[in-house]
């Protein structure tokens, strides 16, 4: 309704909203067409070709999903591959590293490395796989020092040891914690008694019950308020 159509004696209390509530779907792309929303930065065929030429059979798998290249390589060669990527292909920026629990019989854990070549504006994802029986991977802290805390986190959460790491301590959980919480078999609410709660009173021992309040325990303040019997008065 435009302003002209409204009677002169009626004043407008609101504007008419002029937009479509259900946008029209764009036409479907043809088969094989590149996803228009995909980022160009993650499409790195030249890097993949260089890796294949240099390392041959140690490049196990190359996948392209949503225009993102992911290269799975041999676990033993990850340091050499990392050094090659950093020094010869310019992937100087180490963004992230993390673990994935695939929960499979063999090669249970996967570690991904996100790398960026800042000058060329290119991104690459590397992956390696480690087995549950021997969860050990070479540390890439010698190549990128930024990997230090990420590898500590991966050790803390998945129990994957990194050989050559300068200081492989737990990142988040207490140092005497016995489990690796992001493994699939770890219960969501934790294991009772594995993490102590603080004492209920200043000099009391730590509490191993994770829900003392639900079990009737009332933490005391440090001072005592006297019992008052008003009936004496």
């Amino acid at each position: 309704m435009s302003d002209d159509a409204r009677p002169a004696n009626r004043t407008s209390t609101h504007e008419t909203l002029n937009f479509h509530f259900t946008p029209v779907d764009p036409p479907k792309p043809e088969e094989g067409a590149i996803n228009p929303h995909a980022k160009r930065t993650t499409h790195v065929p030249d890097v993949v070709a260089a890796l294949k030429e240099r390392f041959g059979a140690d490049v196990h798998e190359v996948t392209l999903y949503a225009n993102e290249h992911t290269v799975r390589v041999a676990r033993e060669r990850i340091v050499d591959i990392g050094r090659f990527l950093k020094e010869e292909l310019g992937f100087t920026y180490f963004v992230d590293l993390g673990g994935i629990d695939r929960f499979t019989e063999e090669d249970r854990f996967e570690i991904f490395y996100n790398l960026v070549n800042i000058d060329a504006g290119k991104r690459l994802r590397l992956k390696i796989r480690v087995d549950e029986d021997e969860p050990v991977a070479p540390s890439v802290t010698g190549v990128w020092r930024a990997a230090n805390w990420q590898e500590r986190e991966c050790w803390d959460m998945f129990g994957i040891r990194f050989e050559g790491h300068p200081d492989l301590r737990r990142m988040y959980m207490p140092e005497d914690f016995e489990y690796h919480p992001l493994r699939k078999e770890f219960p969501l609410l934790g294991i009772p008694g594995s993490l102590p709660l603080p004492p209920q009173a200043p000099d009391a021992p730590v509490s191993l019950d994770p829900f003392p309040a639900a079990h009737g325990s009332k933490p005391i303040k440090s001072y005592e308020e006297p019992e008052t019997d008003l009936s004496e008065e």
């Binding site: 959980m173 993490l195 603080p198 303040k221 440090s222």
Partner: protein, 195 residues
């Protein structure tokens, strides 16, 4: 003609020590801001000029536990942090009070997982819980007023009797608050509406 009306002409009044001490304590609470997560942002708003907790005498946040008497646990508490919080609580001088601010501090909130304590009342004596995720600063002010109400209705000097000679026990000093509808006196028993 009693003593009180005789002194009144000279500008004196009589009262009880409990009432005066509680009045002073309740209007000069110094919070220890235990800001652990996003609730701490609302706690900052609570202290900032818009909500202006200085009206209640609690604008002086004390980051030293020795100088604070009200701990506001704002945010989710991890098992690792819980030990530090209990230690800070033990270092605070008596008397002291505790507010569990928000769903996470009160019950663990949405963090129902291995690393987060399911409510800080598992290791702290919480006086007031605030619902909300995060609570509005008005809710924190309401909790502060509840703490003030609690202080005004408790013992301050009478507790010394427990350690000395047995003396006649008297009822806790209470401010003479009249309910809005008339002459009904507000006491801890009828503090909240129990219609």
């Amino acid at each position: 003609m009693g003593l009180e009306s005789a002194l009144e002409q000279d500008g004196f009044l009589t009262t009880r020590v409990d009432a005066v001490v509680n009045w002073a304590r309740s209007n000069s609470l110094m919070p220890m801001p235990m800001g652990l997560a996003c609730c701490a942002i609302e706690m900052m708003a609570f202290a900032a000029p818009k909500y202006d907790v200085a009206r209640f005498g609690s604008e002086a946040m004390r980051f030293s536990p020795r100088q604070a008497d009200l701990m506001i646990v704002a945010g989710w508490v991890s098992y690792k942090m819980a030990h530090a919080i209990r230690r800070i609580w033990d270092q605070m001088a008596d008397p002291k009070w505790c507010i569990a601010m928000g769903a996470c501090a009160s019950s663990g909130g949405m963090h129902r997982c291995y690393g987060v304590v399911q409510g800080c009342d598992n290791f702290l004596p919480v006086d007031v819980y605030i619902a909300g995720c995060p609570p509005r600063p008005e809710a924190v002010i309401h909790a502060l007023m509840d703490i003030q109400e609690k202080i005004r209705n408790q013992y301050s000097v009478a507790k010394d009797y427990a350690h000395g000679d047995r003396r006649p026990v008297v009822a806790p000093a209470q401010p003479r608050l009249l309910a809005p509808e008339g002459e009904r006196l507000v006491t801890p028993e009828n503090l909240y509406h129990q219609e």
